[in-house]
């Protein structure tokens, strides 16, 4: 097959810092016709800059220093700007990460797609409209003829990304560059969009350059993958070869850093990569990964490795495989059907299995935190006098309990109310109704000073490591703030400082970092500091609100390891709020699935993940991309988007999107169906728990 795109020795520099940053340094790859090539890598490794270099759409501070980018037999870098404009949008289409920001907010969808048609096909009038409808139909926009005259803000996130794809398709490109196309979307929506892209490719035969950090997405979509690290590709292989046996130590580490149930069952720590991605403004001698590699020896630090072909389908840039260097040829470990092998790293330590122990420790009253029928409604003001016209039912009657030393995962897609629920439990948002009992003490309606004295018992860790630390405060002040506010003073000033040292060490940071400011730390380190801050007041329960979703896989592994270790040592209980199923599989004991303000299913993690009962849970789990060589999995497609919590559907909230919908689902909300002492779900597909439904009708 002929290649659509051929990049040779591409070098791109960013002049955004005092010293030039070599964001892309000698990148070579080719993409064949009808093929999906996934460029994989962590943030800051230069994948997006590569994409922008191909399009010649670099930010003003960027500059292409050398190399060639051939589309067919035309070198794009040699084209004058006007000729390049005929390539953009016509021969190469591009979609971006943030569909919310990537569409012009004041132009209608039709105008924005029409622009492409006018520019590249010189279509006018009726012809444009007909073609727009055609394209919108193709990307699955219902009622396209009417909706094309709406503005982007009137569409949901998933729909917006479909618009972006429609815009890219309008030029009938040979190559589609998709820069993290589903990162900002929920898993069920992600599954829709990925399926759409696959379908379009099969129809049109275009090549796709897929840029992603998600190994699962790459494994589902790609024909070939390239692993990027610090501005260069370190491994290139067919999908099968790569996921059967990644060769480069970095690739292997990446796969091993993925959380999942298998890791937990085997009781392993996740394989975190130590250190951080090196700054690309420095000069490299030798292999760029050598400083973080477990297998590095002198040669690695002295000579940059060249390409070694392992098989026809797999090439790697590592001295371990270099025939000429003569030393230590380590064969890439070959594993079975599942992803990377379990025992890659000698450092991996066995965990004692802790959940059972945790349950025994719990107090006579049973639970540490028990929540019954918690509701958080936000009023909607409307009309002339701003009267309350309705409520956004962000949390609509959830009940759950967390035992000492265990982890309950609250899972759901964005907008389902899980974060609000977490904050309401800690009384950071006043609940509208319901009870929250901590250790037998009712928190709802507790006076301010009594609540304050309890605050040290439960703490929070946030999602965004950049906004969770005050940039104007030193680390020591940040950590001491809680101790001072809650009057936790066991000893004098000196003692307090010692405690800060101890805390920092316990989260894996050297004690002397306490004199520094947050901006000097990386995302993972900041998250460690945030954990130390929470630990400073000796809490028993920590609500973790998506603590790893802003982090790279390898750093996520560090944080997950740390959280588990702390749980084991300190007997902490976690309420783990997340949308990431594989993290749940790794860390949770129990799981509660939330949909539109309500918990639809809960149970022990194995029960729910192995035999999900609620159709939503089933769809959610099936949508998570997994690394499997033979994909037998069938994605259950959900129709439409999450309804607005201001106006939830009558009856079962899920019924408009459910494929098993029955008449009764449209009338009443189902009572719990009990499958085991721990596993329940709310669905009419299963026999209803009589007792509870009786109570419901009486009330």
């Amino acid at each position: 097959m002929s290649s659509v795109l051929e990049i040779k020795n591409l070098e791109t520099v960013l002049h955004s810092e005092p010293r030039p940053v070599w964001a892309v340094d000698g990148l070579t790859l080719q993409i064949l016709k009808g093929e999906t090539f996934a460029l994989l890598g962590e943030s800051g490794c230069g994948k997006s800059i590569t994409a922008l270099s191909i399009m010649r759409l670099l930010p003003e501070a960027g500059e292409i220093m050398g190399g060639s980018v051939c589309l067919g037999d035309q070198d794009l870098l040699l084209l004058p700007e006007t000729a390049m404009r005929n390539v953009r949008g016509k021969r190469i289409g591009m979609i971006f990460q943030e569909p919310m920001l990537s569409l012009n907010p004041v132009m209608t969808v039709a105008q924005q797609i029409g622009e492409v048609l006018q520019r590249h096909f010189d279509l006018r009038g009726q012809a444009v409209e007909k073609r727009i409808v055609q394209i919108l139909d193709q990307v699955g926009i219902p009622d396209a003829a009417n909706r094309m005259n709406e503005y982007p803000f009137q569409f949901s996130g998933g729909m917006k990304q479909r618009m972006m794809i429609a815009m890219a398709l309008a030029g009938e490109p040979e190559l589609l560059i998709a820069d993290e196309p589903t990162t900002a979307l929920d898993v069920t929506i992600q599954a829709q969009v990925l399926e759409l892209m696959r379908g379009l490719q099969q129809q049109g035969g275009m090549a796709i350059l897929l840029i992603t950090h998600d190994l699962g997405v790459a494994s589902e979509m790609a024909h070939r993958v390239g692993i990027m690290y610090a501005g260069e590709i370190v491994e290139m292989a067919s999908r099968e070869a790569f996921f059967r046996g990644p060769a480069h130590p970095y690739s292997r580490k990446l796969l091993a850093a993925l959380p999942g149930r298998d890791r937990r069952r085997q009781g392993h720590r996740l394989d975190a990569i130590r250190g951080n991605v090196p700054s690309l403004s420095r000069e490299f001698v030798g292999c760029r990964f050598a400083d973080r590699c477990d297998h590095a020896w002198e040669l690695c630090h002295q000579v940059a490795p060249g390409w070694t072909a392992l098989t026809g389908e797999q090439q790697v840039r590592c001295h371990l495989f270099d025939q000429n260097s003569g030393s230590r040829i380590v064969k890439p470990p070959v594993s079975g059907q599942t992803a990377a092998p379990a025992t890659l790293d000698a450092e991996s330590r066995e965990f004692e299995s802790s959940p059972a122990a945790g349950a025994e420790q719990s107090a006579p009253d049973g639970s540490l935190l028990s929540v019954t029928d918690l509701k958080v409604y936000f009023p909607i003001h409307k009309g002339l006098m701003r009267r309350v016209a309705g409520y956004v039912k962000a949390v609509d009657g959830i009940s759950l309990r967390i035992d000492r030393g265990t982890t309950l995962a609250l899972v759901g897609e964005s907008g389902c109310g899980k974060t609000t629920a977490g904050k309401a439990m800690l009384q950071l948002i006043p609940p509208t109704a319901g009870n929250v009992r901590y250790n037998g003490v009712e928190l709802v309606g507790l006076e301010r000073h009594r609540l304050r004295s309890l605050r040290s018992e439960f703490q929070l860790i946030f999602q965004d490591p950049y906004s969770s630390l005050n940039p104007r405060m030193r680390i020591v002040d940040i950590i001491e703030e809680g101790m001072n506010a809650l009057g936790i003073k066991d000893g004098g000033k000196e003692h307090e400082e010692k405690k800060v040292d101890r805390l920092l060490e316990s989260v894996g940071l050297p004690a002397e970092t306490k004199w520094r400011y947050p901006h000097e730390f990386s995302g993972g380190q900041r998250q460690r500091i945030a954990i130390a801050r929470a630990l400073a007041v000796n809490p028993k329960l920590i609500v973790c609100d998506e603590p790893t979703s802003a982090l790279d896989v390898s750093v996520q592994a560090q944080i997950l390891n740390l959280l588990r270790e702390l749980q084991r040592n300190l007997g902490l209980a976690y309420l783990f709020i997340t949308h990431n199923i594989s993290v749940v599989e790794y860390i949770a004991d129990e799981i509660a699935v939330m949909y539109l303000g309500r918990i639809v299913e809960r149970g022990m993690v194995d029960e729910v993940l192995d035999s999900p009962r609620h159709p939503y849970t089933q769809a959610l789990l099936s949508a998570v991309p997994v690394i499997e060589l033979e994909s037998k999995r069938k994605v259950i497609r959900l129709h439409g988007d999450l309804p607005s919590p201001a106006n939830p559907p009558q009856g079962c909230h899920f019924h408009p999107r459910c494929s098993h919908v029955m008449p009764v689902c449209r009338k009443n909300y189902p009572a719990a169906s009990i499958f085991s002492s721990t596993h329940t779900a709310h669905c009419y597909l299963y026999p209803q728990d009589e007792e509870q439904s009786d109570r419901k009708t009486q009330a």
Partner: protein, 325 residues
């Protein structure tokens, strides 16, 4: 949407009441009418009779807030507060010190003010946006660099200098147009050219630079990259995408000024001898005619509030996100 506008109008009422109270306090509480009379009549030789006469001529011979001497409703209505402040809501402005009817003066002087302010406003908007767009189009080149330098230099020059310099250069040295004055009908055009040009230039630096910043901010947004990825030429990106988005803050920022155009410009009018509201105000300030100043303060805030409401309406017109909500 209608609800929204009605609510904005209702919201304006307490603000107007607040303004009215402030002006009342300023003009009648800080200094009593006696003080003002003494000031006007000359502090040294002033008799109580003269003061009483002065007050009586102007209707200041009543109690401030509450008239004990009167009966029934008049207890409230026969007071300075009611007759001077509350009456303004009914546009009863009273008479100036020279005995002329203020409302009449305002009506006749509004047009000359508008004759200058409106062209300055429209021309200015066009010129500043054009210059700002040019600078953004040539960003990261010397055109942009020297454009910014010029803007900062223009900003640093006093508006008085533009007027004096313009009068000297164009009228006195080159005799192109009359230095000052005002005519009737089309005849007035030759008097208006210079003040309009000066009006546009004196605000050019700050506005052009501000618009440039707005455009640049839009340029940095993701949808611009999308537009470029479609293969659109830079001019289409700038004029279709960026301009359309940046016009939202520019237009809505400009709309608030429109009602205030009636008030004219204080210094330009006084320098060029235009018989508008601006020079009327200046004359009132110089002759310490409190009645006129008070009316102008009230009128100014009224027009400003009208501007605020117009801004809200214009938002709903230009921004689909608000229009369709």
């Amino acid at each position: 949407m209608l609800n929204y506008i009605i609510r904005r109008i209702l919201y304006a009422i307490p603000i107007l009441v607040g303004v009215n109270l402030i002006t009342f306090t300023l003009f009648f509480v800080v200094n009593t009418p006696d003080d003002m009379a003494r000031m006007q009549l000359g502090i040294k030789r002033v008799t109580p009779e003269a003061i009483a006469k002065w007050k009586q001529e102007r209707g200041y011979d009543q109690p401030l807030m509450f008239n004990n001497a009167a009966e029934g409703l008049e207890k409230v209505t026969r007071t300075i507060f009611f007759e001077k402040s509350v009456a303004m809501f009914a546009f009863r402005f009273g008479r100036a010190d020279d005995g002329r009817d203020i409302a009449y003066e305002i009506r006749t002087r509004m047009l000359p003010s508008l004759a200058i302010a409106l062209p300055v406003f429209v021309l200015g908007l066009i010129v500043y946006i054009t210059f700002a767009l040019t600078m953004v189009f040539f960003r990261a080149t010397y055109v942009d660099f020297w454009g910014v330098v010029l803007c900062v230099a223009l900003m640093s020059i006093s508006s008085l200098f533009y007027i004096i310099g313009g009068q000297f250069l164009i009228s006195k040295l080159w005799h192109l147009v009359p230095i000052s004055g005002y005519g009737q009908g089309l005849d007035s055009a030759k008097f208006l050219v210079l003040p309009v040009i000066i009006g546009v230039i004196s605000a050019a630096g700050a506005n052009t630079r501000w618009y440039r910043t707005l455009f640049l901010e839009e340029m940095g947004k993701d949808y611009v990259r999308t537009a470029r990825a479609k293969g659109l030429p830079e001019s289409a990106v700038l004029f279709r995408h960026v301009l359309q988005n940046a016009l939202i803050p520019i237009l809505t920022g400009a709309v608030v000024i429109i009602p205030l155009l009636f008030l004219g410009s204080l210094i330009v009018e006084s320098f060029f001898g235009i018989p508008g509201l601006g020079s009327y105000t200046i004359d009132a300030i110089n002759s310490q005619d409190f009645a006129v100043v008070r009316v102008m303060v009230f009128l100014g805030s009224l027009l400003y509030i009208v501007g605020l409401i117009l801004t809200d309406i214009s938002y709903t017109l230009v921004d689909p996100r608000i229009r369709l909500e």
